[in-house]
């Protein structure tokens, strides 16, 4: 069983790395969707011998929301805003892949410093969670497009969710529901906002939104 959990977690880490290094927006969204599904599977695997019904429902919710609804919303936003398909990073893909890779040892080191909550779980859980958070941050910071920022928030939320499972177990459901709602609203609002910004400004590059700042440069 442990092997399966680890395999899933490693795939999760790989999706993080993939997100930092892929250049097609569509592929990025698909990978993020895959990550959502993996997240659900990890939850199942962690509780597998005796999984409660309401956990199962939650997992299903996660898979549907993160694996289907969010990608659909994002694809729709992409279509409506006629976003070009390249990601347009500030940092080149090679370098962001390098940074993403180096984030993993960092996460490993950080997790070794944190007081472990559930020693029974696989030791990879917390590092991968931290890695997702770091990768999400990297995506938010280093990408130009608003959509990739949404993706970044999504990845970060995935990390926080994993972290939640690792630290508080089943009670994390509450926390997660709250964040899930936040992100849902976020994606929704972003979808609408991007559409409107696009209509007004003809582009959705966030760096050009800096024209809206208070004082002229």
């Amino acid at each position: 069983m442990n092997l399966w959990i680890e395999l899933l977690l490693v795939s999760l880490a790989l999706t993080n790395l993939a997100l930092t290094s892929l250049c097609r927006l569509e592929t990025c969204i698909r990978v993020a969707a895959a990550q959502g599904i993996l997240l659900g599977l990890v939850t199942v695997a962690l509780h597998s011998p005796a999984i409660s019904l309401h956990m199962l429902v939650l997992v299903l919710g996660i898979i549907v929301l993160k694996g289907l609804v969010f990608p659909w919303l994002l694809f729709r936003a992409m279509r409506q805003a006629r976003v070009r398909r390249e990601v347009e990073p500030f940092v080149s893909f090679t370098w962001s892949l390098l940074i993403g890779t180096l984030a993993l040892p960092t996460a490993m080191w950080l997790s070794s410093r944190l007081p472990a909550a559930h020693p029974s779980h696989t030791p990879l859980l917390i590092p991968v969670a931290l890695h997702a958070i770091l990768a999400g941050l990297l995506l938010i910071v280093s990408r130009r497009k608003a959509i990739t920022q949404v993706l970044g928030y999504l990845v970060m939320e995935n990390g926080i969710y994993l972290f939640g499972i690792a630290l508080v177990g089943e009670e994390s459901v509450l926390v997660d529901l709250a964040t899930l709602l936040d992100v849902f609203v976020g994606v929704f609002v972003m979808g609408i906002a991007i559409f409107h910004i696009n209509r007004t400004f003809d582009h959705i590059d966030t760096d050009r939104l800096s024209a809206l700042k208070d004082w002229p440069s």
């Binding site: 080149s92 090679t94 370098w95 040892p105």
Partner: protein, 662 residues
């Protein structure tokens, strides 16, 4: 010991003799060069004695300087460094005797040889000095002598600039060394090295501070990043045989100083090793990247010195980390690899600088993109340069591989350890060395391939000629040194035992166990290296046999159907490395200025790339500008009246007197 002092004396006297004979350049050269070669030979003998196990008694003479004392000693560590430090200048001097003859009569060669011999003498003195004052004095004279050697072509603006940079860098470095020695000597009230050692060992925080001071002070000489800025300026400016001595051996006095300080500071902390590994990685990778982007052959070689010093630092870092753990294999492999690389680099770097000198001597330019096709015109230089290029890229079967192999094995030992800290260090060393190795190979295929292969790219190399024998012989000697070390690597490794005893602080019997195992590895490496060459030879014969009965035709290079190929269509050095410099653009910031062609029949189009040192531009220049701004506030003190200056001095003296008395 007396022999060595005699050798140093001979060096200095012959230098003075050369200066006296300045009016007759030919005689001055003869005296100077003869002195260096004879003194070098004389001095190497005691070093070999020490390495083969004969201890030599130290000499201590009274000296009236406060805290000073003429206290010299030749132990294993000194002897190990002494051999290249005397050998390379001897060969470089022979080379220089012809290299400089073109400028006969124009400049005073006598003074040049005086400074050259003084430099050699002071390097030897630095290695054997066992008293802080004596050490610093020799160190300072060494820096000054080399400054005058760098500024040989002082009528050129850029040479003066380079000399200036060098002088400032050296003095900043030496300032740190002054602090280091003062702090070291404060407690023991003596600057003799034996006392220094006993005095510091107790407070770890102090030892750490002293270590950092040593890194900055000695690192400036050695060329650690970011104190390396003087290297790419000074080496291209100096005459080639001087660059060979400075880059090949003089910068190693920094490594020697660092190692000597380590023996004084007692058991090291783990972070010292990490610091060295970090510096090594940065110097290695950035050094080779900047080297890749250079267009000037000697500047390229200068950056490679930074790279190789980085490799040495990686080795020493592994060794120091091994001491802090403690782990004997890491210690032995790290220090042995680093130290062996010191000697190897001395050989192949001076060889490459001499080769560069020959190219410049024959063609009048060091601009890589203007050269080409020298293989047929300068076969000897080409072959020796090729050996140097393979060696410096760390490829088997030559000597560069042997030392890198030892450091690699150290890295792998770290990786296979169960402990996490040597494992991470091992990974950094492995990844770093592999990247450095790959980039160095790229850089030297560029340097050798563009300069010596293909067709001449301009008129400069087209009528090039092979160098005279006096220049060829030193290159051949250094190249055969590279081959010999790779053939006798196990033997060299066993000779390093007395050196390792000093650097690791282990007893010989503790050391031997590990040493024997590693010697066996080197046996394999050497045997396979020989097998490799033998197989290549057999295949060559096979090829010869196969072709002997067949038709062999000669024609033009396949021209893609284009009927008028010209040498100008060849790939240039800049285009060769462009993918790599683009990939690492974030680190090296190459500047492009592009004049794009336009219209149907474009007439003008040009692309210029330039890779200035970012540390110099962004760090030092900013800092120095700030200092200049600050000091400009005190301009009002300066009036140009001598009376006022005397008044300043008088007031200062008065204040000091009051301060002392009151």
């Amino acid at each position: 010991m007396i022999g060595l002092l005699l050798a140093i004396g001979l060096l200095i006297i012959s230098g003075i003799g050369a200066m006296i004979a300045s009016a007759r350049p030919r005689i001055a050269t003869m005296i100077g060069v003869g002195g260096t070669m004879l003194g070098g030979l004389l001095g190497i003998i005691p070093a070999i004695q020490v390495l083969s196990g004969h201890a030599i008694a130290p000499i201590r003479l009274p000296w009236s300087v406060p805290y000073g004392g003429f206290y010299v000693h030749l132990d294993g560590l000194s002897a190990f460094f002494l051999i290249p430090m005397l050998g390379v200048p001897a060969l470089a001097a022979l080379y220089g005797s012809r290299y400089l003859s073109v400028s006969d009569g124009r400049r005073r060669l006598g003074t040049h040889w005086f400074y050259f011999n003084l430099l050699t003498a002071c390097m030897a003195l630095v290695l054997i000095a066992r008293n802080g004052v004596l050490f610093l004095m020799a160190w300072e004279v060494m820096s000054l002598a080399s400054f005058f050697l760098v500024t040989f072509d002082d009528e050129k603006e850029h040479v003066r600039q380079a000399g200036w940079t060098y002088l400032v860098a050296m003095h900043l470095g030496t300032a740190f060394l002054f602090v280091l020695f003062i702090l070291l000597g404060k407690q023991s009230n003596s600057l003799d090295f034996d006392h220094l050692g006993s005095a510091v060992g107790m407070i770890p925080a102090n030892a750490g501070l002293l270590f950092v001071l040593a890194i900055v002070g000695f690192g400036t000489k050695a060329g650690f990043l970011p104190m390396h800025v003087w290297l790419p300026e000074a080496h291209p400016a100096a005459p080639s045989h001087v660059s060979a001595v400075m880059s090949g051996v003089m910068i190693k006095t920094g490594i020697y100083g660092l190692l000597r300080t380590l023996t004084l500071l007692g058991p090291p902390a783990a972070w010292w090793g990490w610091l060295l590994i970090g510096i090594g990685l940065c110097s290695g990778v950035l050094g080779v990247l900047f080297a890749l982007a250079q267009h000037d052959l000697k500047r390229l070689l200068a950056y490679h010195s930074v790279e190789n010093i980085g490799i040495i630092a990686l080795g020493l870092g592994v060794g120091v980390l091994g001491m802090s753990l403690p782990s004997t294999p890491l210690m032995v492999l790290g220090f042995a690899g680093g130290l062996l690389h010191v000697v190897n680099h001395a050989l192949f770097k001076s060889l490459l600088f001499l080769g560069a000198g020959s190219v410049m001597h024959a063609t009048g330019t060091g601009e890589i993109d203007h050269l080409g096709g020298l293989m047929k015109r300068m076969p000897w230089t080409a072959v020796t340069f090729l050996i140097g290029a393979i060696a410096i890229s760390g490829l088997p079967p030559f000597n560069g591989f042997v030392s890198e192999f030892l450091i690699y094995v150290g890295g792998f030992e770290g990786v296979s350890a169960s402990h996490i800290s040597p494992m991470i260090a091992g990974l950094i060393v492995l990844g770093g060395l592999a990247l450095i190795g790959g980039l160095a190979a790229a850089c030297f295929t560029k340097a050798f391939g563009i300069i010596f292969l293909g067709e001449p790219r301009s008129a400069h190399p087209a009528q090039a000629h092979e160098s005279p024998w006096a220049m060829r012989l030193p290159m051949l000697a250094l190249a055969s040194g590279c081959v010999l070390i790779s053939l006798f690597a196990p033997l060299v490794f066993t000779w390093m035992e007395p050196v390792l005893v000093i650097t690791t602080g282990l007893r010989p019997d503790q050391l031997n166990e590990t040493l024997v195992g590693k010697v066996e590895l080197l046996n394999y490496v050497v045997i396979l290296g020989v097998v490799f060459m033998a197989v290549a030879l057999i295949l060559l014969l096979l090829r010869h046999r196969l072709l002997s009965r067949r038709q062999v035709t000669h024609t033009v290079t396949w021209d893609c159907g284009y009927a008028r190929p010209s040498p100008r269509m060849q790939y240039t050095a800049s285009s060769f490395v462009q993918p790599l410099t683009d990939l690492f653009a974030a680190l090296i910031r190459t500047r492009h200025s592009l004049d794009t062609p336009s219209g149907l029949f474009p007439r003008h189009a040009s692309l210029t790339t330039n890779t200035p040192d970012i540390w110099r531009e962004h760090f030092y220049q900013t800092a120095f500008k700030a200092i200049v701004w600050f000091l400009a506030r005190f301009r009002w003190l300066q009036h140009g009246h001598v009376q006022l200056y005397v008044l300043y001095i008088a007031i200062t003296l008065l204040v000091l007197l009051v301060f002392k008395v009151g």
